[in-house]
Symmetry: C2
Subunit: 411 residues, 2 copies
């Protein structure tokens, strides 16, 4: 089946495609007769193939025009592939150590050819479930977030550059709408897609639907998500969008990218680390020290992000960015006040979005392996309830937290 | 001189243009041999011709590729004319009683043919200087703002419609940049374009450049102006963008329109009424009751806007708007809380932008006739200082005001 040159590739047609595409064939050393191909798309939306030849490797990612998790009954623009490729290239430029290189993009096929992130890299979430520590994770993720968010914001861009980029990514609206629905709406109402560990959490899910204060807060976050074009955000920065080893961290899958609030990325990452934290009590082995490591990683991620982001801002204070003109804000005391105000506001946004991302993974459509791997439902529900209660507090009281240390104390 | 089909029209070439344009000729009853033509562009940016035939009339507005006030040394995209025409048409659809009809738009000529807003309509600012009361002004302006802002926001639009419109208006960036510069930046630094009633206000102007608290607040407002795509705003809604009689109010000149914060429009209008208020003490005759009328008009404008805007929201609570889904917010108490929170936040934004618009008219490049018509500099400076001091309080303390009555008390 083809529409406008698009067809879903299978293994066989994929090989033909690679053979006719020099930029892919060359990455495989042009040794194309004994390719090893493995489909690994464990995500919700795409087909992903690892292709290995005797002298090279590539990953081929193809978007299909529906939500893979649900099926063809939930259509979704395959144009998201264009935005994923565009964001990947931009993020790779801004943070080459932590974003894979794009070798090839075919817009009509919604197909990206990119670096194969080789073993022993695994999806971070799986590492968190297994209890593996990643000593450089906070360092690397704060680097990724500081670079990608700072350099695409008005702290670095002119408004001319910014509005032009905003306009382009406005067209990724369909995938933004998916987030609007599954993160900011469905968990707060009755929806056929919602699920939770029933019957244990029936009351908790209902309590969320009846929590006026929470619903007012999530509305504000949703409006910010829809209206605030603060920076080019990844848009889906949870712990399954990150691949890790002990010394490498690679951020993948920015198909949800658009110009939105920075706090949505920071919150997604921190919120998913909190989910991992609360899941630990459901595992068989003793995770006490591992829980401490997660908490320290959350704390380090924010603190390092704060440091790196403000350092970039200092470095470029006299640069092209137009939000805070150096001539107006050059007084040393004022400059510190400006940064403090910006960062505390970003911190509160991040906490709010972290909470929204936690809640939706417990009572919404898409759950996380952190909890799903706890086989016994009663035990899983206990862990999920702790996470849910914390997330509710976080969303409602976020403006009362002055530092990540305060947040950690509230866990 | 022509570039891409563009040429600046004079009276003679304008007549030829009308003769060859049926949509304009027909509005003049095709009686084109004795046209009366008058150039009335008293604004900063364009040429405006009133064209009258024995049986009809039109206004022809042509944008030229520079800031008319400054000259060709300050270039400005004539493409703003496209956005003006697009916004005029949209606003006329949403509020036909208070926005003139567009008869003709020629993109390559940056030329709009529209309804001639006939005498006794005058520019509102001139009426305010003369001390004329307009009993329906608050009613009409609140109607215009409620309709144009509500129906272009996510309270009424789907995010699909909204993002598509946002993207289109992102291209009006050059004119947004003019606002960024003259409203949010220049008044807070030394700029060749700034001027004020010197030497009387030399110290006041310097105090603004050294006011850390004020500069932090204006940075936040500037970021909101650049980043927040809340609704299609007029973008320049001061009292010279409004034409009035005792029973008619017409809003013109939306060339600064784009998707920005609603408070920028409300603030522009209210801020300019406050400027008119503070200018009254500089006029020869007794303006005591007129000052009361202005204050009441400010108060009525906000209160009526609040009422009309929330009524539209109630009316369409189950409509296409996606910010607050009815299913989530239908509880009566919650619905009231949601509206309260939204409106108080919009109120504070409006006060902040009102203050920014006041400040820039006293120490920035473009001044207002309200003050300029006070011939004696010392007297003018006194009025301006009162306005400036009030504006500074308004910007810094805006979040402490719970109602427009509180604001009025602070005057």
């Amino acid at each position: 089946m083809t529409t406008d040159g698009f067809r879903v590739l299978g293994e066989k047609s994929l090989i033909e495609y690679i053979k006719s595409t020099p930029s892919l064939a060359s990455k495989l050393g042009n040794e194309l007769n004994n390719l090893k191909i493995k489909e690994v798309g464990d995500g919700n939306l795409n087909f992903v193939y690892i292709v290995i030849s005797p002298s090279g490797s590539v990953v081929i990612k193809q978007a299909v025009p529906y939500v893979r998790l649900i099926g063809e009954s939930w259509p979704l623009a395959k144009e998201r592939s264009y935005f994923e490729a565009t964001a990947l290239k931009r993020q790779h430029e801004l943070c080459p150590k932590h974003v894979p290189e794009v070798y090839h993009f075919d817009r009509s096929m919604s197909l990206i050819g990119m670096r194969y992130i080789e073993p022993p890299h695994i999806i971070l979430r799986k590492g968190l479930v297994s209890g593996v520590k990643y000593p450089l994770l906070a360092e690397h993720m704060s680097e990724f977030m500081a670079n990608t968010l700072f350099y695409t914001s008005l702290l670095y861009l002119t408004t001319t550059q910014h509005k032009s980029a905003v306009a382009e990514f406005c067209a990724n609206v369909e995938i933004c709408r998916l987030t609007e629905q599954v993160v900011f709406s469905d968990p707060y109402k009755i929806s056929e897609h919602n699920r939770w560990t029933s019957p244990y959490l029936d009351g908790d899910a209902e309590a969320i639907r009846n929590d006026k204060e929470l619903k007012i807060e999530v509305a504000e976050l949703k409006s910010m998500f829809c209206e605030r074009t603060q920076a080019l955000i990844h848009g889906d920065l949870h712990t399954s969008s990150v691949m890790v080893t002990q010394d490498s961290t690679q951020v993948i899958d920015p198909e949800f990218s658009f110009y939105g609030p920075m706090g949505f990325d920071i919150g997604a990452f921190i919120g998913n680390l909190f989910l991992a934290y609360f899941a630990q009590d459901g595992y068989a082995d003793d995770r006490k020290t591992y829980k401490e490591w997660i908490i320290n990683t959350i704390s380090d991620t924010w603190n390092l992000f704060h440091k790196k982001f403000t350092s970039l801002w200092d470095k470029h204070k006299d640069g092209p960015g137009e939000a805070y003109l150096h001539e107006i804000y050059k007084d040393a005391e004022l400059w510190e006040l400006v940064k403090q105000k910006y960062m505390i506001s970003l911190f509160h946004d991040s906490l709010g979005f972290a909470a929204a991302k936690m809640i939706r993974r417990i009572v919404g459509v898409a759950h996380v392996e952190d909890f799903e791997s706890i086989v016994e439902p009663a035990k899983r529900a206990d862990c999920e309830r702790h996470a849910l209660d914390f997330a509710k507090t976080l969303m409602k009281k976020r403006r009362n937290f002055d530092s990540i240390t305060d947040v950690i104390s509230a866990v």
